[in-house]
């Protein structure tokens, strides 16, 4: 049992013990989960200092002759950064949850789900092959389902959980096809082996493009890219710490992380790669537009997350671009991952901040019912504003560096550069709108008036994350897992232009929304999210429910009634026809007997003669 396996399994043990043994002892279960997260964090810090992290142990899961699927642990490169994000932010969120969920009835269930998530997410990061990644990929889906549906007695929460699971399943459908295609072509699912095989052999480009596209479908689902983005805003029905951990910092970023893992495949699949770029760019744009008109604080952050994920995906997509025989590969994926890394801190901070605000405002989520919170909630407000600045890309906060890295990559395709810049403007704009409405002005409802600073237990994570949001962009914070030279750095005027765009967004947001009590410029199509939810519902009605209904009718009417019952009816009818001959008339029988004798005689006679 290696350290890595302990990191992997400890949360599972915590989850199981919480679910099965500690259902009635809610407080104990919370401490068990938090403790396991803490231990994992400590062990991880120890682990990432080791020099050799290639093969950290392996467990043979399925073996049939030559066919083997292993649970093998591999940790290198970007994975190191990812595992730190997962365990660190995971631990902080456990800590925050101790306060946030203090009075919840389903505390044991909640922490059990949280631990299950830690287990699954660690598994994704550790995976050394696609099959293992898929296993944990599914498991994060489940833990997300469980946590979104934590307040299962709320209809909206139950629906949102279901929706998240379905949409993710659709993505996983593609992911699995991709894995299978890879397995068919290479006979292996191990990252290292596939890379080796790819380097040494020729493979059908069409098939590779298709398999990369299919694998990307997994990322579309999990990282909520267009057109499967609809579940993420709804997922905000879950407790806020869950939104911070799963639906902002880690799980939704897993799609990006996964793409960096299969970088070597994207490099040789340029068509699929450009699909990835455009999907990312469109997601970034659409989500940012939608974010500008939302009124629910968590929804705004959710769309912001979507938009930032689109950025990352777009960046990774550039890995398939070849310029003068040189692949953009590593620098593109590093740029994407760099943004993932910084984003994890400031977005988790934003969500936890919003959680603190919601907690303080007695579970009020509408920003127009808040206002003036900077007065009573100084620390929270300041951390929130720092995170906003980081997200807007203000120098020298972390977001500035990572956004610049992505834009540097995007220089290679002007259209995407334009979209990216516009999104940067929108980001600054809607975040400013949020801050202005929530923190400044006057309190617009009694819940905002009564708000007061949250307890220390919840402030500690905020403060720690603020440190991360400020410094994550500095070289020292990432140089231990990725070579700083391999992260593209902007040159020339680009950083100044981007900063100008960000400042423009902030200024326009500030002046447009200062002192407003309600949305001054309602744009229905954006507030209604381009009516995509409604369209999807109609599509589902048509393509699934209607077809299913038709299938059921066919099943009941054609197969069951007509064929089966009809067959039975036919037999019955023949039977009753024959029954008519059973008249009970002795003379009739005798007549038939006579005729029978004559026929037999005739037949025998004919046969012999």
């Amino acid at each position: 049992m290696t350290t890595a396996f302990i990191i992997l399994l400890l949360p599972l043990v915590a989850a199981a013990s919480n679910l099965f043994l500690l259902r009635k002892k809610a407080n104990l279960s919370a401490y068990v989960s938090t403790l396991s997260a803490a231990i994992c964090l400590v062990l991880t810090l120890g682990l990432i200092r080791q020099s050799d992290l290639k093969d950290l142990g392996s467990f043979n899961w399925i073996k049939i002759a030559d066919f083997e699927l292993n649970i093998g642990i591999e940790l290198q490169g970007l994975g190191l950064g990812m595992i730190l994000v997962v365990t660190l932010i995971g631990f902080l969120i456990h800590l925050f949850s101790l306060g946030y969920m203090r009075e919840d009835a389903g505390k044991a269930r909640y922490f059990s789900g949280l631990s299950l998530f830690m287990f699954s997410m660690t598994g994704i990061v550790f995976a050394d092959n696609l099959a293992m990644m898929f296993i944990f990929w599914e498991l994060v889906g489940v833990s997300s389902y469980l946590l979104i549906g934590h307040w299962y007695h709320k209809n909206t929460a139950a629906e949102a959980a279901k929706k998240a699971f379905f949409v993710n399943r659709i993505g996983d459908f593609g992911f699995m096809i991709g894995i299978l295609l890879i397995w068919g072509a290479f006979g292996s699912v191990n990252f290292v082996e596939i890379e080796e095989l790819l380097r040494n052999g020729k493979y059908d480009a069409g098939l590779l493009n298709w398999s990369v596209f299919c694998i990307f479908c997994g990322a579309i689902g999990k990282s909520a890219q267009v057109p499967l983005h609809v579940w993420l805003p709804d997922a905000m029905e879950g407790p806020t710490p869950v939104s911070a951990l799963i639906h902002a910092a880690t799980m939704v970023a897993a799609g990006v992380f996964m793409l960096t893992k299969v970088l070597f495949l994207i490099q040789v699949a340029p068509t699929a790669a450009s699909v990835i770029q455009y999907v990312g760019a469109i997601t970034a744009l659409i989500a940012a537009l939608m974010a500008t008109q939302q009124n629910d604080i968590k929804k705004i952050l959710a769309y912001s997350t979507l938009s930032q994920l689109g950025y990352m995906i777009m960046a990774v997509g550039f890995a398939g671009l070849w310029i003068g025989g040189e692949s953009l590969g590593e620098s593109a994926s590093n740029a994407g991952f760099f943004h993932l890394y910084t984003h994890a801190f400031f977005k988790a901070l934003l969500f936890l901040g919003s959680g603190a605000i919601i907690y303080a405002c007695h579970h009020e989520q509408n920003i127009w019912k808040m206002g003036g919170l900077i007065g009573p909630m100084k620390i929270t407000s300041i951390t929130f504003l720092i995170a906003t600045a980081a997200l807007a890309g203000i120098y020298p906060l972390s977001g500035f560096y990572s956004k610049d890295a992505i834009m540097t990559v995007a220089l290679n395709k002007p259209i995407l550069l334009v979209i990216g810049s516009f999104v940067a403007f929108l980001t600054a704009f809607y975040m400013t709108r949020l801050c202005v409405v929530v923190f400044f002005g006057k309190a617009r409802s009694w819940s905002a008036e009564e708000a007061k600073e949250v307890p220390l237990l919840m402030l500690v994570p905020l403060l720690v994350l603020t440190i991360g949001a400020i410094f994550a962009g500095q070289t020292f914070s990432y140089s231990w897992f990725v070579d700083p030279k391999k992260i593209p750095h902007p040159e020339g005027v680009l950083p100044f232009i981007l900063t100008a765009i960000g400042v423009a967004g902030i200024v326009s947001g500030f002046f447009l929304y200062r002192g407003r009590d309600q949305e001054p410029y309602p744009v229905q199509v954006l507030a209604k999210k381009f009516y995509l939810d409604e369209i999807y519902i109609i599509l589902v009605r048509i393509f699934q429910d209607a077809v299913a209904w038709v299938a059921k009718q066919i099943d009941e009417l054609l197969i069951d009634k007509l064929l089966v019952r009809g067959g039975a009816r036919l037999v019955t009818e023949i039977g009753s026809m024959l029954r008519g001959m059973q008249s009970g008339n002795l003379q009739g029988y005798a007549f038939l007997f006579g005729v029978g004798v004559i026929l037999v005689l005739y037949i025998i006679n004919a046969a012999i003669g």
Binding site: Q587, G588, L601, N605
Partner: protein, 173 residues
Amino acid sequence: MSLLFYIFSGLMLGFGTMVIVCRNPLSSALCLVISFLGLAALFVTLNAYFISVIQVLVYTGAVMVLFLFIIMLLDIREEKSKDWNFLAVGGGVVVLFGFVVQLISVLGGYEDGKQKMVPFPEDLSHEDVKMIGAEIFTNYNFHLQVLGVLLLVATIGVVVLSRRQGKEGSENN
């Protein structure tokens, strides 16, 4: 010989027809007696004296008496419907016709059946009772026992059936 054969055959078939034509069951029974007597005579022409005697004793003697007895007992005179059931008659005629046609066509093609009878060998002419007895009590002994059981069962059955279904009988049935 041929003459006798035709006379007795005619007797048998003629009165056989009368059996089914007569409306009164009593007449039917009496016609059947004569028909069976003709049959017994045919057995004699075939040198089956034992069978002939049995035929007379069992059928014309015992069975027909039984028939008459029952007809008297139940006091059945005429069939209720004076008219013939033409459907049944038609069916009967069809069967009769078809059967006769088949019979003739089968027998017409049966070459072995064209052999003429030759006089019975003298040494065997009066041996048949002995031979049948020997056969029954050697080769068919077991079958004879089974037959005995059958008759016993029939006897018991008749007793059970003809018991009046009175107070004590209702439970059993």
